[in-house]
């Protein structure tokens, strides 16, 4: 659900001095931020930790927040991306990526190979092996359905750069899943 921009702007402005308004922002954006944190960490405790940090930081920075012309969620995602990066700096990924991407028989259709032999966790484990920037762009695009322009705002990059990150990320996932492009293949 997207808040109308005018209403969101008013709410954000009120939230600089009004705890209830901040609570309303929390109610609205908790789901997105938690889902993003979970998509990147795939660990309930870590997602809770990151989500708490994001909203605490946002709360403390609210009086200084200045609208940038982008949705308020972009700012929250920015904080989230930083918090997640901090999280991974402190803790190494625990999933074994190699074990997650064993897919064979490249002659079978992609959909069949992925759906049947790579469940959600294994597919997304392949994303975990990507470079940080690709990983963030991929998660925001494929996990959060954000527009490329908004991802660019969150990551401080141009839309073109984000396209490149997502494209390279997908190529990387394909390689990690052991899938090679098959000309003319259809689902």
């Amino acid at each position: 659900m997207t808040l109308p921009r005018a209403y969101e702007d008013q709410l954000v402005e009120r939230a600089k001095t009004d705890a209830d308004a901040f609570g309303e922002l929390y109610d609205h954006y908790f789901g997105q931020i938690y889902r993003f944190a979970y998509s990147r960490t795939r660990d309930q405790d870590a997602a809770e930790e990151v989500t708490q940090e994001v909203f605490m930081k946002a709360l403390r920075a609210m009086p200084r927040y200045r609208p940038s012309g982008h949705p308020f969620s972009s700012w929250l995602y920015q904080i989230s991306a930083n918090a997640i990066a901090d999280h991974f700096r402190q803790r190494r990924p625990q999933a074994s990526l190699d074990a997650a991407v064993e897919i064979v028989d490249p002659t079978r259709p992609v959909a069949e190979r992925v759906v049947e032999s790579a469940e959600a966790a294994r597919v997304w484990a392949a994303i975990d092996g990507l470079p940080e920037q690709q990983r963030t762009a991929m998660t925001l695009k494929l996990g959060e359905d954000l527009k490329l322009a908004q991802i660019g705002e969150i990551m401080g990059k141009s839309e073109g750069a984000v396209k490149l990150l997502v494209h390279r990320g997908m190529v990387g996932v394909r390689q990690r899943l052991g899938i090679s492009a098959v000309a003319g293949e259809t689902l």
């Binding site: 402005e13 609570g23 309930q44 809770e48 992925v114 494929l142 997908m170």
Partner: protein
Amino acid sequence: MSERRHRFDAELSELFGEDPDLLQLAQLVRESRPEPVLDPRFPPILRARLMDEARTVLAPRSTFRTRRAPRRLAVWGSFGAAAALAAAAVVVALTGGTPPSGGLAVVASNVSQQRAVDPHQAITLSFNEPMDEQNEQSVLSALKIEPATQVTVTWKNPETLVVTPLHPLAADTDYQVTVPKSAVQSQSGQTLSSNVTIDFGTQPSSPPSPSASPAPVLEPAVVGTAASDGLAFWGPASAPGVTDASAVPATAGTAPSATASASPTGSLTPSATPASSPLVSSPASSATPAPAEGAVVFPDDQMPISLSATPAAAVAVSPDGFSVALALTGANGSDEIVVEQADGSQANQVWPSGSAPGATVAALAWDGNNRIVFVTSQGIDTVNVSDEQSEQLYAFPSGGTDSGVVLAPDGGYAFLPGSDVVGQPGPTSTATPAPATATATPTPSSTSSAAPASPAATPSATYMPSAADGWLFTLAIAGGQIPSPTQLAGSSSGVVAFSGASDEVAWVDAGNEAEVATVLEAPVCDPPAITPVPGAPTEGIEQLALDGHGMTLAYGLDPGGIEVETFGGTVLGTTADVASSLAFSPDGTQLAFVAAGSLDVAEVQPGSSTSPATSICQDADQVLTQFVDDQVSHDQAGLTALSATGAPSAAQLTPAAINRGYVISSECAAGSATAGPTLTASARLIVDATGTSPGQLTDETVVLSQSGGPWLVTGLSVPSLRAQGSGPHVLSVSVTPPAQGSLNPESVVTITFDADLDPSSVTSGSLWLETSGGQTIPLLAPPSYDPDTREATLTVSGAVPAGTEVVVGTSIADIDGGHPAADATYPVGG
């Protein structure tokens, strides 16, 4: 959360369009994204923690009113003209309090060395010793800030004092904070050797646009022709828009594209050129297209696609955006439901199957990507797309028809007029009619979106349904308990709409006695939780549409016109078109409708429109700004270049000492057959204070004209400089003209001040409007004042007459009792 993954994402297609294999993989990755595991106790626990923290972080510890000190402005350096307004340079001078040796001192402030202070920024003062925080109250009462501004002060730590304005500081304004030497004391008992003053300035806001704040005007783009009663359905997610019933792509000359966009000036204008696939290549886009029947899909930025050769009675796009269901009239006169791919391929009749009798289909919707719910003259049915098995969900009683039945976009809910409900109960909201063969799932979970909150919206328990009102049914058939249908009070009007996400339902109130609202909204999971929609038009609502979650509503009005408003009542756009079949795009940024036989699409974006009157003087605004810049920088060549022959010499009239200036207000006047348009503006020229002289200012009047050539200054009047003095100053004046199509047109003049005003001083005796002939213009209500923005507003009926000026009298006062030295007038747009 699970539904999101099935939405169509057009950007992925664009991104991987050249590599179908990669596109498929991306879609699969997207669909397999991990569903978060969430402890339901976590959100409320975190919320409680945040609220505890918020009360400390956001709530002021104490508030006080500053006392006025002698105005003393910062010393401004010399700087370039262009930078003068763009950067609004700030000089921060930290003076006083420096001890001869080793005493207490303010050693730093966070605003020092900054060129433009953020109006939202708090000011910190760092001391060289731990301070006695116990004397905070004396600091609060002694601290002074100019212009008069309400602030709070807190000790961040023993060495740091934080001064936080209660409201954002005024833009482009000099401030001075003074800490009297006796106001603070260190833990060791030291005091300042003298008063400490901090001078700084805030960054400018955007220069005011000439004459007016914009009137939100929808400017629809014609994307195709359609029968007057045709549909303009905007599918879920990024699915394409679809119209039916005699729809054809518009001609190249009249149909820019299906995508509207904001112009560089911020006005609401359609795209000027066709999308990537030029319409001229379409057979239907010849100069005089013959009306074609059938349904047409309008993918974003792509050529329209014909879906059928026969008119469609109803159209719906599947949640994943890949399929379109059409109700088409078959050879035997009965309707058939045909499912096609969104590219027009793979048409397949899914209902009726075999030799089963057909019927007319009045409406249909997708429940998931494999199930279609539809309304026939006999009742509400469903058909499974893959095996074409159908069943009846609800049978109309004798006398019932399909007329007035509204399906939610997700097919999970239906609104039925009272005549379609078996055994109508009495006027209570809990009575349960007995659907003939209804099977249904329990009502949606409590996680569904509730009615949007609004300060003006008060949920009411006083809405009592009458026998004539319609009912909200749950249609899903996953088994389980049959929920009780709920009667929607006042819905006998029959004007009912669901939100795009099917989580809200709204209807025009047929006139219950207990309330005055004309439109009511409620979450489908809790229909009795009715919320009146504030600000809705008061009469003549014939059509209604909601965006994804009912946060924005579009009203089709009788005798004509569309009004788009937020749930809170803010008007986002209006048009005078006589329209039907209103529908929002999934993201709420576009509104599609059928008007005068065409399918139109208008962009809906808050706060991005410009009135036609403004655009006349658009270029003049730039010239005016440059002219003032040149005055500040004493660019004689520039002033000469911007002045018309015979105009007063700006170089001579501009005081030599000024080092800052900005435009306060302007008024644009349209030209006549013999003269071009003119812009009359008021601009402030400022001489900043120095250590030895006080600040001065003057408000000049500049007239710019255009007669076939570029805008030039043709008139200039610069009164003598005067001492800045005390009391509030006007920073800007603007006017919001009446909204187009408004039933009660009114204009709002907004005057922004640099100081916090004493609200009791804002009266019609201190702030009023005068015509060019000196007559006072009556106000619709006493002037109002918003302390958050330091804006006073005057509301008048209709448009503001040309030549109107706002007068700020000497009786207006800031919170410290300061008054302007003399009455001041500023032009406002007509």
